[in-house]
């Protein structure tokens, strides 16, 4: 349920409500808005009417509203305005500015990640991506450089003043990965790895959750809810294509999901055209389409030497192709009422 406090409610009244919610065995999730505070209260469905009645009469409370959707904290029922997730002093995802994340699929060598970081920064990317732990279909394929990869990514990010994002695969690695990265990525295969979701729910750093390749939008939001319900509200969603009968593209980019999510949730959404395309030549049209459909940002794979990449080479853009794409994305962003500032 959502407890909407009156516009001038006192802090003491808010604190009281929070305690009441806890006393009832529910979890309080206060959201401090510009005009007023609302407090989400999540707990046992069976007893909710009793609690709603009780809270509605407390001083400072304007009204108490049930949440109809199965996702509570992720829903626009509890928070209408888009969440703007702060990544660094100057970068946030979910505001008016489109944020482009770029980099190689995997961190492979110091030269590779530095070279790529420099190139994507120059082209206008704001955040550097690179995998250190790679979930690979085959146990015999390159599984990532591990902590060495994390270090190289961090160094490259620092060298070019870019926050970094990298994937965490295992609960046990969350602390280590968190110590190196600015955003933790949960990959598509782990979208319903609930132990991992709960673990990243306990930290404060932003988490980018990718949609599973056969998961519905509702399931996607329920997985976000796992993170939010642990107290980490810095969740960014990522649509990266779903599995369908069509094989001409690696996955089918679902821009309908971008549209639906903008109604259903306040969480920002990133589109990953690279994994949807599977081929570099299809990345640009998918990036433009995803942006025009309402994405708050894009994540694009760039590699200085795609045919030598240890993973996903065919879908990586060369740096100059990426730079050209950024120019065209800026125009689409502006046509969509958004900004995408590029370096001079």
């Amino acid at each position: 349920m959502i407890v909407v406090m009156k516009a001038g409610a006192l802090q003491i009244q808010i604190d009281h409500i929070i305690r009441e919610i806890e006393n009832f065995g529910y979890q309080p999730h206060p959201i401090f808005g510009v005009e007023r505070t609302v407090i989400g209260a999540i707990g046992d469905e069976k007893t909710k009417w009793h609690l709603m009645d009780a809270l509605a009469q407390e001083p400072g409370v304007e009204q108490v509203i049930p949440i109809v959707k199965p996702y509570k904290l992720a829903s626009t029922e509890i928070k209408k305005e888009k969440s703007c997730i702060k990544i660094s002093e100057s970068i946030a995802i979910g505001g008016n500015e489109i944020v482009v994340i770029a980099g190689p699929c995997s961190v492979e060598t110091r030269e590779q990640i530095f070279h790529t970081a420099e190139a994507v920064k120059k082209a206008g990317a704001k955040i550097l991506r690179g995998g250190a732990y790679k979930p690979r279909t085959s146990p015999y394929e390159f599984q990532g450089l591990g902590e060495t990869g994390l270090k190289l990514l961090r160094e490259a990010g620092d060298a070019f003043a870019m926050p970094v994002i990298t994937e965490v695969l295992r609960e046990q690695d969350v602390a280590l990965v968190t110590s190196y990265t600015d955003i933790l990525q949960i990959g598509a295969r782990n979208m319903q790895n609930y132990g991992l979701l709960k673990e990243v729910g306990k930290i404060k750093k932003p988490v980018m959750l990718k949609r599973g390749l056969a998961n519905t939008i509702k399931e996607f939001l329920m997985s976000a809810e796992y993170i939010l319900s642990q107290g980490n509200y810095n969740v960014i969603l990522c649509e990266r294509g779903i599995r369908t009968f069509e094989t001409a593209t690696r996955n089918t980019l679902d821009i309908g999901a971008v549209a639906v999510l903008s109604y259903e949730t306040h969480l920002p959404i990133i589109v990953d055209p690279s994994h949807a395309a599977g081929k570099w030549s299809l990345v640009a049209p998918l990036a433009r389409g995803g942006l025009a459909a309402g994405a708050d940002g894009l994540m694009i794979e760039v590699h200085p030497n795609p045919h030598e990449a240890l993973s996903d080479g065919p879908q990586a853009l060369l740096p100059d192709k990426f730079a050209a794409l950024m120019q065209s994305l800026q125009k689409i962003a502006q046509a969509s009422g958004r900004a995408l500032p590029l370096p001079e």
Copy 2:
């Protein structure tokens, strides 16, 4: 195979090659370009090397190239530049200008189709749509007004100086529908109704072929090939969403298909966001996304009174919402290097 004539080949040489192809039991498909003529020759795969050898030595022939793709006349192997399908004196699909087709799902009454025609024309739509024969899942639902609907559509188009498009369901109706409409639409359910495809291949009017809800891009092009191989080269493709596990949208709009098709075929492509969305509130983001992904035009359902529509009401835009969408589409078109002129 493709017979590429020399830049200065004489008409008599071209005619000779065409006769040779016919003598061999193949179908000749000459394509007269600005600089040179190429002649597609389609026939039995088993004997093709023999014919290729023979033709390569004829006067005026520069080279003879096999077509690798299973779709021959639809392929960019035979024709690289985008085909621009002329609809009327001033309207063509596939050129620099984005063409928007709009109107109700079904023609219902004179007032309804005239009202809608006026509204969409004023908002910038170029072509009027309206169904007279409706393929309905249930035999007990409204099946369209038939010839009465065709007449009303024609009159509304004439009244507002708009070419019209309407669906033809049966081979036997092709002549009748052709007598009323400027473009014949083949619906998704009929994408592999080969008798119907052949029949519309025998006329000269443009045909818009919609992708079947579970058909691959390759099958889509093979169905276009059925029409082309009968001699009607005025084929427009339409991506309208595919069937997947996701139910939050009626279908999943596959903008990857738009991207792939732009490499694989010279035929222009229209995106139908209405049938993909299934809900009016999702139409605008899908329309913008499809356009930014490279569509040559859009087909959008508009109804003056959606909740009284006899079919597909929930996905129809109100005229004022459509007008607002056209404004934003113009910006996306320009950002994509295309034009979408709107009335003053």
Copy 3:
């Protein structure tokens, strides 16, 4: 709605109800059971309550019940016991006996169809299949022998005392095909070709309707309803695999559909393991699985020389493999409480 007549209702009372239904602008569909007669009345949903009230008071009427499902005549609401469709004096589909249909994908030569007919008859098949009109993805592939194929199929069927089944693709061919065949097949690509469905609804011969490759069970029954509502109640359903992301099999055989259909409809259901498998080596396990899941029969492709087949060779069984399969199917049939008599 369903008008349930009293057990001893007079014919004159039944006739009266039928006229009343017609007078009201509804279609009457009487079903004469052993104990009592029920009359389906199909028409405009909006006026149904009025008619129900009127009929409930007529002499001989026990009760009038609305039909909840969107498919009316196909539903078990109107008829609980399985329909048993008579094919010849000695063969019926939907009774206790499992019926196996076998033969080549396409009729190719007299020798091929006679050879196959002899072999499958000897192995225990009851009905001979063979395509004369083939719906092919490519316009350049073998499209069937046409009427010559129909003649050869009929002759082979007569020579070996087997009813025959063949596909009809076009409305215009229904009369011709009907004159040669015992069962008309509507293929998966035509499941929603409503003109064709209505046309075969006007004849009396049995129709086997194949499920479209991406059509839901509900849509499947709605298409059957198109045929039934025209007055042809001899409809047999055929599950032949649906299109999914899995490519190891040509299609995914949906035995869940067999199970669901047995609750939803009284129409008999045939399983086609050949088109689901796409490879001969997978046909036997799918045939056994489909039978054990409740199918009333099977349709299996057999060819004397699969690697020279003009269509679908890879999925055709050799005659001796088919004979071995029939032995194992007999055991599964018996284990399922059904009979599958084989020649000595």
Copy 4:
């Protein structure tokens, strides 16, 4: 690659080959057959030809064969005969005898699990299932009893002399769950949780791996390979339905996968009709169909009081329905040349 030893190869020769493989940086996987020993050698693809050459000349070696499939240890290339996984002194999965696993979705109370255990044992089930850690789409739903559930399951299994199977969700829980259970289940959502797969690859107890809801058969085998490559060869596969467009069943049971797997792998395969059906009334036909298609066993949900179940109640069979199903499964097993002995 596969090193095939000569029929009379000495142990000292086998040991030598194993050391050579290790010296080369490859992993040796000896498989001791009745007639001869083969040794799988898995390592870097780039150097394999060199090692193959070297080993082929060693004493006791008959031949060295490359493995073509991406799954090596799971492939029938390395081992043709079906693996028979021993569960207890008297129970094995993969032999001639069909093994039925039954029990509730979740362990809820002592009474519930004991009652169910007694009933399914009496009906002929060999192994008891029950979840203690439940992966739930919503963070607000019942997540299982945890270790208390494990204890109750173990006690019920012991009380009725049945081995037990339960799901493990997290790497950290593998040791704990292993201490209570006879078989560890990896659920569909975790099929590509590679950390978890590697962890259960390090123990010796049997692991049942469920197919992910949108994973191909190839990906399924690659995930099995993760477990095998760690040295745990006791892997059982479980087909439980895939996600498709059809919603009449919860998932689409893919019996084609059962057929394909029997060619591709030596690992035994279990069919779970309950999760495919999603409704109890559809469980029996799917169970029979899966068995007839070649499954080595079935896993079926049974609950004494389905409408009070804390998870998946609608798909649970009542004990008496389960007992009736077992009778019919015995007949199908026998018709398939398998045995399914039932208690007197």
